[in-house]
């Protein structure tokens, strides 16, 4: 397992390098002079040229990239032009909120999706199976931001059961119960599409395994159906299920941007959109880099999980 881990970590290096090059290039080739954005339109040409020289913006691109990478390696993502604070601290605070939202949505979609998938596979063509098929089609076609607004209108603004926006109540909140109440609608919105995808994949993986000879043998031995489904079938269907859950983790991390905007959830997504609209390049760069790194680490974790679940993978 340790050899597999080392091999997998070595493969990570070129991907991380590529991610850093893309983040650097995309935002450094952007039209507009960062010095002009920092100084405002009132600044003189002389001030602008001096700031460009101070920031090293006149250096060749590869020199700028090397310097930027050196700073990133030391944990220095620069200062936000808009908030005038170090980017890393701000992004990490927001990342915590994004991870709470994404993690909750992932737990909901994994538990809900796997449970629904097992029920559909054990009762093929039942009303539950058919409803789940329709829901999966709807889930793939529904804009997540629209679903969020509809849920907000129904459960917050009309019925008044749950708060409509934010992570904590502005007054008197701040405890876990307050957080959970604020989390329900954004997490459900974000998980809605994923739950249908996980359930359909679980269904097909389970149907394939349930048709195997050893399942028939287990039934012939007189094992209880629940034990056959959970111990014999689910365990062997887990690799494709973990794959799709891993893919969903990445999808949720990216999709959180839209959900955060609908519910004013103070995560990296809203920070990044605010940064773009304020043309705050270091802030946007920091957000993209931190989320991409999180995504790469999630993928690494999923790969390790495969190797743990299926020994054949680590000996390949």
């Amino acid at each position: 397992m340790s050899r597999f881990l080392v091999r997998r970590l070595l493969l990570l290096a070129p991907v991380l390098m590529g991610v850093s090059v893309i983040v650097f290039l995309v935002l450094h080739l952007a039209p507009g002079d960062p010095a002009e954005i920092m100084l405002g339109s009132q600044a003189t040409q002389e001030d602008r040229l001096r700031l460009r020289a101070d920031l090293g913006l006149d250096d060749p691109l590869h020199v700028q990239y090397g310097r930027w990478l050196g700073h990133v390696a030391r944990g220095d993502l620069g200062r936000s032009l808009w908030m005038r604070r170090p980017v890393l601290g701000e992004v990490l605070v927001r990342l915590k909120a994004t991870l709470i939202l994404t993690g909750t949505a992932l737990v909901l979609s994994s538990i809900g999706g796997v449970a629904l998938g097992i029920l559909s596979a054990t009762r093929p063509n039942s009303w539950l199976d058919r409803t789940s098929a329709v829901a999966s089609l709807f889930g793939a076609s529904m804009p997540v931001f629209w679903l969020g607004i509809v849920l907000m209108v129904v459960f917050s603004l009309t019925l008044g059961w749950l708060p409509a926006s934010g992570m904590y109540a502005p007054y008197g909140g701040g405890d876990v119960e307050d957080l959970l109440r604020h989390l329900v609608l954004p997490a459900l919105t974000l998980a809605a599409a994923s739950v249908t995808i996980v359930s359909r994949l679980t269904r097909s993986a389970m149907l394939e395994v349930l048709g195997q000879d050893y399942i028939r043998t287990a039934r012939a031995k007189g094992l209880v159906e629940r034990r056959i489904v959970v111990r014999h079938a689910l365990k062997n269907a887990l690799v494709p299920i973990v794959t799709v859950i891993g893919v969903q983790a990445g999808y949720l991390l990216g999709g959180a941007v839209l959900t955060e905007t609908v519910f004013a959830w103070p995560g990296v997504g809203t920070l990044m959109v605010q940064g773009i609209l304020a043309r705050d390049i270091p802030l946007v760069q920091g957000c993209v880099l931190v989320v991409a790194l999180t995504f790469v680490l999630v993928n690494l974790f999923v790969d390790l999980l495969y190797a743990w679940l299926d020994p054949r993978i680590r000996y390949e």
């Binding site: 995309v26 039209p31 089609l137 076609s141 804009p143 990216g254 999709g255 839209l258 773009i276 991409a292």
Partner: protein, 298 residues
């Protein structure tokens, strides 16, 4: 004993098989019916979108503040008006042009880039293959929408840039698909024979390999257009796609949500429009897949 068991199973299975066949036929018929309805909805939207300039509709950008937030079925505004008094029916029809252009345009661009790179990466081994595959690996190391947002941040907000961004993050899907097909086809005897006869690469690719790509690429494209409409609408919702006053379903949703309590229709209608058109595209995509690739038919 086993014969008895097998015999019993065979007899017991007979009506199940017959029922299963009838059931699957009914399912196939209902799926066809659904796909036909979806195709009709899609064609209707396409015709309406193309004919928008000649339809008797109000100017989609004409502001009429006294008539703001009128409910549906108001005389002169069958679907009501938005927060600036602009006619919602007209904006939805004009918005369909933007959404369909965004969906087909971005999926088409992603397909063009992806197929070209997939052919190159699959046919030529060595540095071309390595470069193409590492590029797709790196692009796939980002969450999809996040990278699109980063590219828009670089290029600047606007529909054209949003479409370019979504096409860039979307092409690796086609590259991987096409490369896998090319890798298997290039080893087949007829390709070897063409090579032995001295055919140049472009002839082998054009005459012998590309025809094998048509079916999987058409299936992927037909299933991709809806996803691209959702992605572009998402960027417009964030204020990074279509800019005001152009009518676009995503930005209509974004501006309308401030008035959702007062007049839910300003949000419900554009959202429903996106949902229906993407649902129709997905159903048609499923039907195209069943038609062209019966092995994966669900």
């Amino acid at each position: 004993m086993s014969d008895v068991v097998l015999g019993t199973r065979a007899v017991a299975d007979a009506p199940v098989v017959a029922r299963g066949a009838g059931h699957s036929t009914r399912r196939a018929m209902s799926r066809n019916l659904l796909a036909t309805a979806a195709l009709a909805a899609l064609l209707l939207t396409l015709v309406l979108a193309l004919a928008a300039p000649w339809l008797p509709l109000a100017d989609p950008d004409a502001v009429d503040t006294p008539a703001r937030l009128r409910p549906p079925l108001t005389p002169g505004s069958p679907l009501g008006t938005d927060e600036f008094g602009r006619d919602l029916l007209s904006r939805l029809v004009w918005g369909a042009r933007v959404s369909l252009l965004a969906g087909f345009g971005t999926a088409g661009l992603a397909m063009l880039i992806g197929v070209t790179l997939g052919i190159l990466g699959g046919y030529y081994s060595g540095w071309i293959e390595t470069t193409v595959m590492r590029l797709t690996d790196i692009l796939m190391a980002f969450p999809y929408i996040l990278l699109a947002i980063a590219i828009v941040a670089g290029l600047g907000p606007g529909l054209r840039n949003a479409m370019i961004a979504i096409a860039i993050v979307g092409f690796p899907l086609y590259t991987r698909l096409v490369r896998s097909v090319v890798l298997s086809v290039r080893e087949r005897e007829f390709v070897e024979a063409a090579r032995a006869l001295g055919s140049p690469d472009f002839v082998i690719l054009g005459r012998h390999i590309v025809p094998h790509l048509l079916s999987p690429v058409i299936v992927a494209f037909s299933l991709d257009v809806g996803a691209k409409i959702l992605a572009t609408a998402g960027l417009s919702f964030l204020g990074l796609g279509t800019q005001p006053p152009t009518a676009d379903w995503g930005s209509m949703l974004a501006t309308g949500r401030q008035f959702v309590v007062l007049r839910p229709h300003v949000v419900l209608l554009p959202g429903l429009a996106i949902f229906v058109i993407v649902l129709a595209l997905n159903l048609v995509g499923d039907a195209v897949r069943d038609l062209l690739d019966p092995r994966t038919a669900s």
